[in-house]
Amino acid sequence: MTMRKLLVMSLVVACGPKPAPAPIPMLPGDGDAHVVKPPPVKQAPVADPWTGRGDLIAAPAPHPPAPIELPKIQEFKLSNGLAVYVVKNDHLPVVAMQLAVRAGRMHEPRARLGVSELTADMLVKGTRQHDAAQLAKAIDVAGGTIAADSTFEATLVSCTVLARNAGTCFELVPEMITQSTFPDAELTKMREMLIGTLRRRFDDAGTLASAHAQNLLWGQDHVRGWINSEQSIAAIKRDDVVAWHRAWFVPGNALLVVTGDVDAKKLKGDLERTFGAWRTGPVPPTPSYPEPGLSGSRIRIVDKPGQVQTHIRIAQFGIKHDDPRFFDTLVWSYVLGSGSPGSRLVKALREGGLTSTATASFDRNVDRGSFVASTAVRTSDAALAARRMLGEIARMAKEGPTQEEVGAAITSLAGSYAMRFQSVADTGAALVGAELHGYGWEYLTNFPVAVGRVEVADSRKAASEILDPKAYVMVLVGDAKDLEPQLKKEGWRYEKLSFTDPITAPIREPEAPPDAKAIAAARKLIDEAIAAKGGKAKLLGMKALKMTATGTTTIQGQSVPVEISRVFVLPDKMRIDATLKPPRAPNDVVVSIGVSGDTGWQRGPDPKTGEPMVADITGAGLASVDFERWREPELILLKAADPAAKLQVAPDETIEGKSYAIVKLRSPFGDVDVALYIDKKTKLVGRMSYSDGGNAENDDFAEYRDVGGVKFAYKRTSTGAGRATVLDIKTVEVDPKVDPQLFAKPAAR
């Protein structure tokens, strides 16, 4: 119904009060602080019709918080151990079903970050009875919603339908849980989608700041400090998803809540039938990690050149949900950072017009989570804003909230709590949360009363115990060139990262002991691929290669026609000339690269002046060239055939209808693996892929033709990190005559 909503929404201008327009950013040199000027003319006071009046409408005296009355709950267990909670509520003909499995981020192994999210996303992508499209259609026809997601603590599956279609949820949810097939093609799409989301994080300074704050606070050895990366998602294979699902998705590790207009008597039989096939099994132990300590402050600048606003996060350790100070903390945290105009952070930052948006909150989890204060301000105000936030945190730790603030916080917190119990799915979600955290129904009903019992002295005590003004981490995501002088002026020490740096350092799993059978299988595949390519003798006999090609290269959505000539003389001489033809540019752009042994040069237009220039290739550039020479597509099979080569067989994959066997070859460059996709029919290499700093790089090969007894791919597509190049090979010459001067460093023109 997206389009319905889209169209109608655009005709209804829905509003609350509007935020004030953003102030105009100051440019360097703006302002008149150093100009001698006459004293400002006193403005006549603006007439205010309300000041001094006694007849304004005052807010009502707060009512004492009362328990929430909720419908009765019926509890039972299915024969396989699944705990079921039923809340009958027939005020509307709606049924909601929510299943929670205690399998979330906190249970993930470090080497498989993101597996809970990927598994949840895959639950709606195919079962033994329905493929992804059929599942989507089934819920579409019923006019309902079905969704699966994973949180820090659990995987949640929810389904809501009209009561007359309740059967759709009762059939589909158990099917998704017990009969998921995790099809490869869907997994590939989902992985790409998740990687796309992660890439967009680079454009979202707020999300980036929150991720860095968790990482800086909890460190690299605690699950809360681990942040997904493109590399971690790319590393998750179907086997990992299947293993995760098999280990954690057992009835004894789950709970089911059914709410709404249900026939409670009939329900148990229906659930026994549909969930009955869910096999039982042991529940794996939940991993635990030693909590890191925090002494002193740590500040991290995440440099995002061109970022106009700086996003600031100040984080400390929070409390567990069962901490006796939980409700006291809820109150002082509200006073500090509810985001309302009267909250302390907003008041502190509104002064001088820094911002009117600032919040502070803490995680409510089974284990201790984080306390985080957040805002975003003009970069020129970043240090000032951070100082004021620290000041407010220190003041809260020292003085705590006032009587009046505690009263206002209780009224708002207790009042807003009731808003969460309006739909049948709301009630179900609240019950799932309470049960996951080991609380019961009474916790939910008595929540407002517990908030109402908070005393000023207790809230002050909790603030002074939990907030430590001297031990915190601070993250600033903004333009470092403008941030660093401010931090230096404050005398703050900091570390600096680029916004594109991986937040959690990638780790390698310990290598599995070599499996002789698997290695033999890999060698057989390589031998078959070499035979299909033209045979070992032919490949070993090649001394030089020259290819020319035309095609297009697309970078960030801009496509440019390109012509390429490439010469490779074994073992280490290479020359590439690329002519780019930008559509509206007056001239072609020619870029050349020459390498010989451990020297290299590059010729092309100077990025600043456009004038031709020649530069040496050194350092990281030369390392890239080494890698390119090593993975030369025409010869890489010989590297794989070397008896010392480290090989592994990966599970087969199907791409665009073709089935590939996959052999991974360990390169000598930073333990990078290059995966060779061998077409199971032709035995020719259809793809070479490797991961570069978290980015998947793929080279695809098609339309093989015979040149002198060796098969060469005439269609080549190279994709990775927002760039794609498609080439049609025009000529291939084996052992051409090559002028040695071709590799010598030329003059600029």
Partner: protein
């Protein structure tokens, strides 16, 4: 019957204020809403945007409430406020703990007649609205829809939407606003809706106490009543300025909300253009197996049901200028097929489930139920009409859907507006 639905109690105050109450036991929450029967169709042609500007002004201070204090005090009690304006209505909603019912009623009564028109506030809100307009002009969908309505309505004020117009907004004076307020923000032009864990007697007492003292006013002017849209006798087609993306919109005039054919027309729109398995989405978004390309990257259809005759609008969005004609032809072809061959049982079942569930799901929250009541009153004069709608949708047959497609969605009197994509 789909199942149990809420019971609505209605009454009126002597000054003409209509009141609708639903008592619910679900959560200790109440939604207090006032629906004013005034929208952009009541604006002067040279003051487009007045109704929306009004909605903003209503938060910016009255005789006894400081600017923004209404919102802040409701938030302070744990509640929230919202407001919205469309062609037919403007409404204000306060959702808060049920024990503060009377306070919300008092605040709404206060702003019904005691709004202050202060120049700095008017100018500030004018700027906010102009900024909203600028943001909206960046949305191809909103721009496309505005363009389509402007061509489709030659006489009726549905030619423009509630967003307004920059030139007109700049011209609005405090006197214009005051006139508008006195004409439409009156008890006899409003419905007070109260939904939640409250007793009807308490609602009546609060309404009497705070709204009862407001005098009844004259009947408000209805400019749209004398600007009825003549039937469209031929196809209208316009090619607009190129946009960032290509978009072709095809619109048809449909009857007003009170007409019974509206149910079948809504179902026809869902069959054609809502959900991934709808006909237009399948036809326009599915890639051709030979070329690997689809005609459009987005497609859909919606029946915009209004107090006066509204529109059904289908659209396709694409990036290749060469696709424009094919997209238009495909839309007419799919709509034509529905008119000539009708719908399948599966499609109709899907459409009914989707329409009914989106309506029933929206009734789960106090605010959603209040809004369904308010909208029903605006569209039909009956606050409980939506309850009947849920059953009426069930009664529609495949033959009805085919008949309305033939009767109303003919290619001969459609409005076509094409926004070609800018050449890249």
């Amino acid at each position: 019957m789909i199942g149990k639905l809420p019971a609505i109690e209605t009454f009126a105050l002597p000054n003409g204020l209509q009141v609708a109450v639903v008592h619910r036991e679900t959560a200790p929450v109440v939604s207090v809403q006032v629906w004013y029967h005034v929208g952009s169709k009541d604006e002067r042609r040279d003051r487009r945007g007045t109704a929306h500007m009004f909605e903003h002004m209503m938060f910016k201070g009255t005789a006894h409430v400081r600017p923004d204090a209404h919102t802040q005090s409701i938030n302070g009690l744990g509640g929230y406020v919202s407001a919205a304006t469309d062609e037919d209505a403007t409404h204000y909603a306060n959702t808060l703990p049920a024990e503060y019912l009377e306070y919300a009623v008092k605040l709404e009564a206060e702003r019904m007649r005691n709004l202050l028109f202060r120049a700095p506030m008017i100018d500030a809100q004018r700027e906010v609205l102009l900024e909203e307009l600028r943001e909206q002009s960046a949305s191809p969908l909103a721009k496309g829809l505005e363009g389509c309505l402007w061509v489709a309505y030659q006489k009726h004020p549905y030619a423009w939407t509630a967003s307004g117009n920059a030139k007109d907004l700049a011209a609005i004076t405090a006197e214009d606003l005051k006139r508008f307020y006195d004409a439409y923000y009156e008890p006899n032009n409003a419905l007070l809706v109260v939904v939640g864990k409250v007793a009807a007697a308490d609602v009546k007492a609060s309404a009497d106490k705070w709204f009862g003292g407001i005098a009844k006013a004259n009947e408000p002017p209805r400019p749209a009543a004398v600007a009825q849209e003549p039937p469209e006798s031929a196809r209208r087609r316009e090619v607009a300025e190129p946009g960032q993306i290509g978009m072709t919109l095809v619109g048809w005039h449909i009857p007003a909300a009170r007409n019974k054919d509206i149910y079948a027309l809504q179902l026809a729109s869902v069959v054609l253009g809502a959900g991934d398995s709808s006909r237009l989405k399948l036809r326009l978004k599915t890639a051709d197996p030979k070329t690997g390309r689809s005609l459009a990257f987005e497609a859909g259809m919606d029946a915009i049901v209004r107090e006066d005759p509204g529109m059904a609008i289908a659209l396709g969005a694409y990036s290749d200028p060469a696709q424009a004609d094919a997209v238009e032809a495909a839309i007419f072809d799919e709509v034509g097929k529905l008119a000539t061959r009708g719908t399948t049982g599966d499609e109709l079942r899907r459409a009914k489930n989707q329409l009914q569930s989106s309506l029933v799901f929206s009734l789960e929250s106090a605010q959603g139920l209040g809004e369904a009541i308010g909208r029903s009153w605006i569209l039909t004069g009956n606050p409980g009409a939506f309850l009947r709608d849920i059953d009426e949708i069930d009664k529609v047959s495949a033959a009805d859907v085919q008949r309305v497609a033939r009767q109303y969605l003919s290619s001969d009197h459609a409005t076509v507006v094409v926004f070609p994509p800018k050449a890249r």
